[in-house]
């Protein structure tokens, strides 16, 4: 493949791949797509793919078998989409290898398997199957970043271009000045998706203002929190969207240096993003003098080694520089002195992925989505015993109750809702009676919760609030980089007190000691990890005070989780 020389060359190429895409879907061969992603592989999608390949050949079905990314419906993996000639594509869920034969046989007979179908990609029902868009998981979603999830092959730049990809970058490159790009991002009021919600446009503007070169633009795809898996799904499912956002970022900052720092655990995300970069170089969308312009851009991928703290901005930059990833005091801020002591703009994966849409349709359009202070859509994940575990993309402002009970289907059979942990390891839980809070950057904070990166953990009555608090506090203790004392010494002290309580040796004054100690950790710690580390514990104490009380005063763990339960049982046995 030759590098595209200029804009016309790109247009010709785009027209050709678009035509090929149309022909694929209008042709008289079957088109069968299997979602291959980190989570579907865990559920056997590769085996399903191989089995299908074999059976289709055996049965002589003339079919094009393709890989696509996942569509966020973890609960329905592995999924297989079947387009029979002349019929709309039908998506089938939970197609494990044992179901492949019945599926292929039905197809051969020209039937649909309504009982296995999630929906049909069409406006109207087909063969008794409802439109996919009416599936309860999707009906309330608003998909911009995930619009083509499960539709395009993530390892094909042609698929991405055929669906309108890199148009935003071309628009920026040929029709807009860097200042105009920043102005649109500012007008969109896009706030950072990595947790803190800082307006991206303002950050980009500061980055432009600093007069020092070279400058760097960095994607934060570290995603080391224990409660979220959206960024890697985005990279696995549509890596070119993130790359296009990064390219636009580099153009806006007028720099040829882009980076993506990806958590090393997310192997498939790393692999697919690297492949996307390779393809973009090959086509001339990366490299020197892109499409005959003066703009050059080079993107490097760096991976992390399993330290949560490396997601923090300054730590991440040290990590890229081959040093231990430990945060530093600010100022100077990263937009003044970041990577290699140069101005650096760092944004979350999802933030960058939102940029192409903003450039294409305008900041005002984006700002009209969501709520006034939290515009646009948000990727959210739910973990825990809900019926439909997965990644959803919703407009900001939906209530947490709608999200949990409509989109994610509510609790699985046999589980009763107790609470939902918000903001991962950086905030507290919400109870049943607090679920009508809208999902945005600001509404949950007064309740002790937080939007954070958008990972919510639903827990049921088998989970003990004290033990859960210990789990979350222990995470922060373990992941503390040990650079500053309040965090290094304070968090182990909190865990120690919690362990005392869990073992039945809690004292009434312990809760005050926790509050007092937490205050010191929050106020005196150097970075964002320590500054919020006690929040989950304080939140649990606030949401479930009776449970802390039961442990301390009655020496009893209501959920029967803590070691105290065994002690009580033994004591009771001894009484006989």
């Amino acid at each position: 493949m030759a590098r595209l020389a200029d804009r016309q060359d790109f247009e010709r190429y785009a027209a050709a791949v678009h035509q090929r895409w149309e022909r694929l879907w209008a042709g008289d061969r079957w088109v069968i797509s299997v979602g291959i992603s980190g989570c579907s592989i865990g559920k056997g999608a590769l085996e399903t793919y191989r089995h299908l390949e074999l059976m289709l050949a055996q049965e002589g079905v003339p079919a094009t078998l393709r890989q696509v990314g996942c569509a966020g419906w973890c609960f329905a993996e592995p999924f297989v989409e079947v387009r029979a000639p002349g019929a709309p594509p039908v998506v089938y869920g939970n197609i494990t290898t044992d179901r492949v034969p019945e599926l292929v046989h039905a197809l051969k007979r020209g039937e649909v398997k309504a009982e296995l179908a999630l929906g049909v990609r069409a406006e109207e029902s087909f063969g008794g199957i409802q439109p996919l868009s009416q599936h309860p998981f999707l009906a309330r979603q608003r998909r911009l970043l995930f619009a083509d999830a499960g539709v395009v092959d993530p390892e094909s730049i042609d698929d991405y271009i055929a669906r309108g990809g890199y148009r935003a970058f071309l628009k920026a490159l040929f029709e807009m000045t860097p200042e105009e790009v920043v102005a649109e991002v500012k007008a969109s009021n896009l706030r950072g998706r990595g947790g803190a919600g800082f307006p991206a446009g303002i950050k980009w503007e500061s980055g432009r203002r600093t007069q020092a070169w070279p400058k760097y633009v960095v994607v934060n795809s570290h995603e080391g929190e224990p409660n979220v898996f959206k960024d890697r799904r985005l990279l696995e499912t549509n890596p070119h969207l993130v790359l296009e956002g990064l390219l636009i970022g580099c153009y806006a900052l007028e720099t040829p240096h882009g980076y993506n720092y990806i958590g090393g655990e997310h192997a498939l995300a790393v692999q697919r993003f690297q492949e996307a970069v390779r393809q973009a170089y090959e086509l001339g969308l990366l490299g020197d003098n892109i499409l005959g312009t003066k703009f050059s851009c080079h993107v490097r991928v760096r991976t992390g080694g399993g330290a949560y703290i490396c997601g923090e901005g300054s730590a991440l930059m040290y990590a890229i520089m081959g040093q231990r990833g430990q945060p530093r005091t600010k100022p100077p801020r990263s937009v003044e002195e970041g990577l290699w002591k140069r101005p650096t703009v760092l944004n979350n994966t999802e933030t960058f992925a939102s940029v192409p849409g903003i450039v294409r349709h305008g900041g005002a359009w984006y700002a009209s989505l969501g709520t006034e202070q939290s515009t646009g859509t948000k990727l959210v994940t739910i973990q825990g015993p809900v019926k439909r575990v997965g990644v959803a993309e919703i407009e900001m402002g939906m209530t947490l109750r709608e999200l949990i009970f409509e989109v994610f289907g509510g609790m699985r059979e046999g589980y009763r809702f107790k609470g939902v942990q918000t903001g991962g390891v950086s905030a507290g839980p919400l109870r049943e009676d607090q679920l009508d809070v809208p999902i945005d950057f600001d509404s949950m904070t007064p309740l002790g919760g937080m939007l954070g990166s958008g990972g919510f953990v639903v827990f049921d009555e088998s989970v003990c609030a004290v033990d859960f608090a210990r789990y979350l506090t222990a995470f922060n203790r373990f992941e503390s980089c040990s650079k500053c004392n309040p965090c290094r010494l304070g968090n182990p002290a909190l865990v120690e007190i919690l362990d005392r309580i869990r073992n039945g040796y809690g004292r009434p004054q312990d809760l005050d000691i926790i509050r007092e100690g937490s205050k010191h950790i929050i106020e005196l710690s150097l970075c964002g990890l320590g500054q919020v580390a006690p929040m989950p514990l304080l939140g649990m104490m606030k949401a479930f005070p009776e449970e802390f009380d039961a442990h301390i005063r009655e020496k009893r763990c209501p959920a029967n989780v803590c070691p105290i339960s065994e002690a009580t049982l033994l004591a009771a046995a001894g009484d006989d």
Partner: protein, 181 residues
Amino acid sequence: MAHHVEPAEQVDLAPLREVLASQFRPRDSQEAYELIVGACQEAQRLYGWVPPEAAQAIADHLGVTINRIYGLLTFYADFRTEPPGKHFLWLCHGAACYVMGSSRLIEVLRERYGLEDHGVSPDRELTLHVFNGCLGVCDLAPVIQVDHHTYWGRLTPDRLTAAIDALKRGDPVEETDGPAG
């Protein structure tokens, strides 16, 4: 922690050297530093851990000090500086897995198989790595990734012990992703 290091088997550095020569070619010292972690990850992929000889080879290749390499190997949770056992268990202790019972699995591994986090079982059959993040397959929680490719999901302590015993015998492990729900 007790430092029980096996008498080092001869490490064949040729495959590592090959990867370093083809994929790790820094243009300047800045990039050399940026490539250290990636090079160590390659070494671990090849050997299952980062042997001292490999660390030295990386230091020589990139022109950085061995101290710098060990500074990173000991900072990141993913790296192993001691040889692992025969099978590798990557146990997810993310929030979904916690809520669905990963603590009980950790307990079983400790009590029944003498496995601590980052430890090797006394019979050197198993290595355990407890992962604090999320493995990204929460629908299977609680879940363990085994030998870098298979997943045992929706585990209970009983299913875990059955699966491990089968693994040690070399038998296929039944129903690795548990009952659907």
